[in-house]
């Protein structure tokens, strides 16, 4: 007790007991919930009121502009021009085909639709953890589907007319660019990450140099180099399609970011796993393929998906070399004299934002789902 006494001599320790708090109130129902979550204290109440005002000040005008005051039907700007307080969805509706397919010729658009279906057929079972034939599925996603859809979209065989990539555009092109970027950046990123963790100094330096340079410069300079300057680096007469060059630039750029994510996974694998694998007599590649990478990649799936989201958003920058992805297609239609009104740009941008948002949000939810699933796995 004397010890306690002497301790309470310290100036910042309370000398007497605090009055017991009253028992907690009834906790069910709307009012107690509101009191607990909105009006817990004076400060809380003020915050709630400010928050409510803020939310109303943003939500109400946005809803009014985009829904209640919007123009939904019409054939040209006459329909939207008088309405300066609402969105012009008639414009989006009229240009919808262009926003999705770009300038892909009308009679050939079924090919794009088939590609969409093929894509879904590969991605959906891949995303469901319990779906069978994962190995086969992987083969389909990385090899069969790209080759199949590439032949289908470009044409020139099986009696399909050739559709130049200069005519590709809209959401379809955005998906092509992001899909190829994802499918290429993952393996490239794994190789770079392994290289960076390698014990061979030259291999390590080369990988570190590549990764850090790519991460240190903006994507548009990389795209500029790949899209515009690359032919200058090749012998005269040797050239390949501009879209392919853009894809190459984007994939290498994304691979550098991917490499850092994978490296995080590799570092998280305990040393014992490496040593165990080696003691079984496994060589480097066998060890990586069977023991290390499956674990490392599983850990960083959320990080990989985040990189994919970043890549998906970055596809909006290929416009810098005049490739008509979704956002550029939308922007280019603003000056179409048939539809130009003061609300057209905002309507088009909102549409584009919504499309990007749906894809990115979907991916981020999936990433969250995987994260939770994995955490459960660790708990057990």
């Amino acid at each position: 007790m004397t010890d306690m006494q002497s301790q309470t001599d310290v100036f910042f320790v309370r000398q007497e007991m605090v009055q017991a708090s009253p028992p907690p109130m009834r906790v069910r129902g709307v009012w107690p919930w509101m009191r607990k979550n909105l009006f817990g204290s004076v400060g809380d109440t003020i915050l709630s009121i400010i928050g409510a005002i803020l939310a109303l000040a943003i939500v109400v005008p946005v809803l009014q502009w985009s829904l209640f005051n919007a123009t939904w039907t019409g054939d040209n700007r006459e329909a939207c021009a008088p309405n300066t307080v609402g969105a012009c969805w008639a414009f989006v509706k009229a240009n919808f085909g262009q926003f999705i397919y770009g300038r892909y010729p009308d009679p050939e658009r079924w090919r794009v639709n088939v590609t969409f279906v093929l894509l879904a057929a590969g991605i959906i079972p891949m995303a469901i953890p319990s779906a069978p034939f994962k190995r086969l599925n992987l083969l389909y996603v990385f090899i069969i589907f790209p080759v199949l859809s590439g032949c289908l979209l470009v044409g020139g065989m099986f009696g399909l007319p050739v559709v130049e990539t200069a005519l590709w555009g809209g959401l379809f092109l955005t998906l092509v660019v992001s899909y190829v970027g994802m499918a290429m950046s993952l393996p490239l990123g794994i190789i770079l990450a392994l290289g960076r963790r390698s014990k061979m100094p030259i291999v390590q330096w080369v990988c570190v140099f590549f990764i850090e340079v790519c991460r240190g410069v903006p994507l548009i300079t990389v795209l500029f180099m790949a899209g515009i300057l690359l032919p200058l680096f090749l012998p005269t007469g040797v050239n390949f399609d501009k879209l392919v060059r853009a894809l190459l630039g984007l994939s290498l750029f994304a691979a550098a970011y991917m490499a850092e994510v994978i490296r995080g996974g590799l570092q998280a694998i305990p040393k014992g796993q490496y040593e165990g694998a080696k003691s079984l007599g496994l060589g480097y590649w066998t060890m990586m393929r069977l023991i290390i990478l499956p674990q490392a990649i599983t850990i960083v799936i959320p990080g990989i998906v985040n990189t994919f989201i970043g890549l998906f958003k970055d596809t909006s920058l290929v416009y810098i070399i005049s490739i008509f992805e979704l956002l550029y297609t939308v922007r280019n239609s603003f000056t179409d004299p048939v539809w130009a009104t003061s609300t057209t740009p905002a309507s088009g941008l909102l549409f584009a934002a919504l499309v990007f948002w749906i894809f990115c949000f979907g991916m981020s939810r999936y990433s969250k789902f995987t994260e939770d699933r994995l955490r459960v796995g660790y708990k057990r």
Binding site: F11, F12, D44, P218, S316, L317, P345, L349, F356
Partner: protein, 394 residues
């Protein structure tokens, strides 16, 4: 043993090409040959192409007269050299990057804390904010501010007047510009001096609290010292500060300070967009501080604000700083999107240098060098800061 030895001798594993050291050296030689060979091949092609096609090369153009005008922060005109123009672009890049970093940090911190608020409404608003901006491309955010908000402001001739000298229009925000008088340096000296005094008072108060437990409102006193001293000197030197007022002319408002819509949209967009990422970093940083810390601090009788400021945030910072550094790098790189709205940043200026000179390789090299330089500087600064807060741990 002999059998085993015999087995070993005949084992293919002992061949020289299976020796790990030999292999490692071979792989590295092959890699370096491949890398150097590829680069040499590209370089050779480029040189051949440039020569065959008669395209000028080299960096001589940097010293030549540019002959075009752009609106930059540095004073440039058509007599400036290409090199100076690019430098002006770099300065514009740095300015917008620094300001966007500042606003994104503040906004991100607020939203990140709000994400963990016990108030449902505040928490929800913060969540919606984060989920909305994180999932759309920054370019859309920039265009949204530029085309969707700033371009819809009234024309300059019907500008919204806020007070007599502030106005808002689709040409930007116009405000008075302070012009320093000849004696202004005295005021600055007084200001610095007052800061030193305030700091000394703070130290003294801290020492006294540690010793006796008596509090002292050092913050308010310090503020008072700064205001009184600086203000007094300001008045005593006879009002050394005047304002240049914006004046309406036939087409524009000239004089004063102008915040152009190009700058504003880039700054706001990068700030608002990146804040959503910073908010998530702050949130996870705070969540990484164990609940026991908060509870212990509350048990000591600290108020919520103090718990956050004195206990949680300093510990959370250690988790926050590394990812925060990469967000700062992202802002810097994303300033290159200025080209979409016509803010004269490094890339936009480079585009205009590239046209009359045709020296695209050199311009791209300048871009990359400048951005890499900026990235390295930011990384170093953040590493230094990280090391500093890590040291205070024990």
């Amino acid at each position: 043993m002999a059998v085993a030895d015999a087995g070993r001798i005949s084992s293919p594993r002992d061949r020289w090409y299976n020796n790990p050291t030999v292999r490692s050296i071979a792989v590295q030689i092959i890699l370096i040959v491949a890398v150097v060979g590829t680069i040499a091949w590209f370089a050779n092609n480029t040189v051949t192409n440039l020569r065959e096609r008669g395209i000028a090369s080299g960096f001589d153009f940097l010293g030549k007269r540019a002959g075009f005008d752009m609106t930059t922060f540095l004073n440039t005109n058509s007599e400036s050299t290409y090199g100076y123009m690019l430098l002006a672009g770099l300065v514009d890049t740095i300015i917008v990057a620094i300001l966007a970093i500042a606003i994104a940090t503040v906004l991100g911190l607020v939203v990140g804390i709000a994400r963990l608020s016990s108030n449902w409404l505040i928490r929800t608003i913060a969540t919606v904010y984060v989920e909305f901006f994180r999932n759309i491309p920054p370019l859309i955010v920039i265009l949204f501010w530029y085309l969707g908000v700033l371009a819809t402001l009234p024309n300059i001739r019907d500008a919204i007047q806020i007070g007599p000298d502030f106005s808002l229009s689709n040409r930007g925000i116009f405000m008075p510009r302070p012009v320093l008088g000849p004696n202004f340096h005295i005021v600055i000296i007084a200001f610095v001096l007052s800061l030193v005094i305030a700091w000394a008072v703070r130290r003294w108060a801290h020492a006294r609290r540690m010793a006796t437990g008596q509090g002292f409102p050092s913050g308010w006193v310090g503020l008072g010292i700064v205001v009184v001293l600086t203000g007094g000197v300001f008045l005593a030197t006879g009002d050394p500060l005047t304002f240049e007022l914006p004046v309406k002319t036939r087409f524009n408002i000239v004089g004063g300070w102008t915040v152009t819509p190009e700058f504003a949209s880039l700054f706001l967009a990068l700030g608002v967009y990146t804040a959503s990422f910073i908010a998530e970093i702050v949130r996870s940083g705070i969540m990484a501080v164990s609940q026991g810390q908060t509870e212990a601090a509350r048990a000591l009788g600290l108020r919520d604000g103090l718990v956050l400021r004195l206990v949680v945030l300093p510990q959370a910072l250690r988790v926050i700083i590394p990812p925060l550094a990469s967000e700062y790098l992202n802002i810097t790189k994303n300033t290159s999107l200025a080209v979409a709205v016509g803010y004269a940043d490094l890339v936009a200026v480079g585009n205009n240098v590239l046209n009359p000179t045709g020296q695209s390789i050199e311009v791209v090299a300048v871009w990359m060098a400048f951005y890499l330089g900026l990235s390295i500087i930011i990384s170093l600064a953040m590493n230094w800061f990280n090391a500093r807060i890590a040291l205070t741990e024990r």
